[in-house]
């Protein structure tokens, strides 16, 4: 039986020079090094995987407790525990490449030199398709968010990565910047091919009985559906205020959530915290997007980017 309008929808998108078979990207820090969910998530629905943030050397990360659930969200202060770029390339990358997915390496540096060095190493690596530049982690002592809040620093980090590689460069922006569109314009001048946003929002919670912070790091990053309306607004501002393609994220749990980001201007979206909640989110979101396109007679999903209409929903 064929439903009315049950034609094939073109679900592919182009962003930062990458042709993704679906607009759904696994968000860095929520999907390990890419193959951890292979038994329970439907990888056919995943357009690309952004792996856990990488430094040159392995990092132990923050002491526990590292996570705390909040209303419709979670706080985390992992502190970028990771294996270092060399072990990633030798041990982790082959496993995720074997899954046939587009791999985006997410990098973080504690200095501009480290960003540049990581960029050069990845440029020589086989099987990495793009570099997402983490200039927005709230949980590390140096680098991270301090680059992302200052347009000049963000541009310098982007520039040094740009100089090291021919791969597409995608700075991941901090919601803590006072003018994210200004940061996006500066990283565009510095050679970025796209931007991704938002990273987590600095936040905290306190146990009133013990009068102690919930996280050992005291402050963590808030993610999950709780941040989504903030993220949608920020994607809208950046998409309007710069010429760069935008990869949107923040609490996406369904096709409807993903559509909000697309309509305000995202070319692709990332799914993060909801991986923890429901590995079935990939299939549900993908199917829901295709069904929406059929219902609205949209032949190619990419046509929805920035397709929000004027006026109000009423």
């Amino acid at each position: 039986m064929s439903e009315p309008g049950a034609t094939t929808v073109d679900m592919g998108v182009d962003v930062a020079g990458l042709r993704l078979p679906t607009p759904l990207i696994a968000a860095s820090g929520t999907f390990g090094y890419g193959d951890e969910y292979r038994q329970v998530a439907d990888y056919d629905c995943i357009g690309a995987i952004s792996v856990k943030g990488l430094y040159l050397e392995p990092r132990a990360g923050c002491p526990p407790p590292r996570i705390w659930e909040t209303p419709s969200g979670m706080l985390n202060a992992i502190g970028l525990q990771e294996v270092g770029i060399r072990r990633f390339l030798a041990e982790k990358l082959p496993a995720v490449r074997a899954l046939g997915k587009i791999v985006i390496a997410n990098i973080c540096g504690s200095s501009l030199e480290e960003y540049g060095e990581l960029s050069k190493v990845l440029d020589q690596a086989e099987g990495v398709s793009a570099i997402e530049v983490n200039i927005s982690c709230p949980n590390v002592a140096e680098g991270g968010i301090e680059f992302g809040c200052d347009p000049d620093m963000a541009a310098r980090a982007t520039e040094v990565v740009r100089r090291g590689t021919r791969l597409p460069v995608i700075p991941k922006l901090s919601p803590s910047a006072s003018d994210m569109a200004a940061v996006a314009r500066r990283v565009a001048e510095a050679g970025a091919d796209a931007v991704s946003l938002i990273n987590t929002i600095p936040a905290m919670a306190v146990d009133v009985e013990t009068r102690r912070p919930r996280l050992a790091n005291v402050v963590g990053g808030l993610s999950g559906p709780a941040v989504r309306p903030i993220a949608v607004r920020m994607v809208w501002e950046v998409a309007r205020g710069s010429r760069l393609p935008v990869i949107g994220m923040g609490g996406i749990a369904s096709a409807e959530d993903a559509l909000e980001f697309l309509l305000v201007g995202a070319a692709a979206v990332q799914i993060g915290t909801m991986n923890f909640v429901d590995p079935g989110v990939w299939r549900r979101t993908f199917d829901g997007l295709a069904a929406y396109c059929r219902r609205h007679e949209v032949a190619a999903l990419r046509d929805l980017t920035g397709a929000m209409r004027p006026g109000t929903a009423g």
Partner: protein
């Protein structure tokens, strides 16, 4: 065949299964044994756990040890009220649905035939040992089970362990059952009664630490199940870490209690590294 079916890892296959609550046994005022039936038969090894999602139980899934697999497709969970997640499960009506992601994590290894298991469990820490003792009993073997709790009602499933033929010895902090005090006070005698013991423990951190000290002093191998707050259970959120030596050797690092654990060789854990882990 989808890609995700094509690439299985070692150990029993994982899945996110729908499961229906079919029976509830109120073991004490604040603890329940919940029996679920799932759509497909489960293969689970003792010590493994499941991440459960239930309506009204918060955003993130919550980890529970598989307590027992009484029949094909059925599993039980031992749940004690600690917060919104456990409360939602304990208020779920019979016939209600959850989703159960698992089985996850490392396992308690049955001891070699020439060694005798000595289990030390506190409160809901007994959960993984029901399946463990079922497997022991199926191979015609016995062990010593030391159960501890605050009061007599907290010595959950005492009779189940006896039915499996285990030598059950109990302690309660208020003296209402067995030894008056901590369960670890029973350990010296249990080890003295045992030829070539192997220790297994699960429960409050203070208890685990004491068992680990005694095990080290007596030179007895010791597997311990560590509970930490978890976000995903799949090794990706890195929320549940324990500072320990990796099984493959090398220096201590933060290992994931969902992936390198929850069952660890107790001798590899740096117990003093993070004094307030929960």
């Amino acid at each position: 065949m989808t890609l995700s079916e094509a690439v299985g890892g070692p150990g029993p296959p994982r899945a996110d299964r729908g499961a229906t609550l079919v029976a509830r046994d109120q073991l004490s005022p604040d603890a329940q044994l919940l029996r679920f039936e799932s759509e497909a038969p489960l293969r689970v090894l003792p010590g493994q756990f499941t991440m459960v999602r239930v309506d009204g139980g918060g955003l993130l899934r919550r980890p529970y040890s598989f307590c027992d697999l009484p029949d094909d497709g059925a599993f039980t969970l031992l749940v004690k009220e600690v917060g919104v997640g456990t409360r939602a499960l304990m208020n779920l009506p019979v016939g209600g649905e959850v989703s159960s992601l698992g089985p996850l994590g490392t396992t308690f290894d049955l001891p070699p035939p020439d060694r005798t298991p000595v289990i030390v469990a506190g409160g809901v820490g007994i959960a993984p040992f029901v399946l463990f003792c079922r497997r022991l009993a199926e191979s015609g073997r016995r062990g010593i089970v030391l159960l501890g709790g605050r009061r007599r009602p907290d010595l959950y499933l005492w009779d189940t362990f006896e039915r499996f033929g285990m030598d059950v010895r109990v302690a309660s902090e208020d003296g209402s059952a067995g030894h008056h005090g901590f369960v670890t006070a029973l350990l010296d005698a249990a080890l003295a009664d045992t030829v070539r013991p192997v220790l297994y423990s699960c429960g409050p951190t203070g208890m685990l630490l004491k068992v680990a000290e005694l095990a080290t002093a007596a030179g007895v191998p010791h597997q311990v199940s560590i509970e930490r707050r978890m976000g995903c259970g799949m090794g990706c959120c890195l929320g549940c870490v324990v500072w320990a030596r990796p099984p493959s050797g090398g220096p201590e690092e933060y290992l994931r209690s969902c992936t390198e654990g929850p069952v660890f060789d107790a001798a590899t854990i740096a117990w003093d590294r993070d004094p307030h882990p929960l």
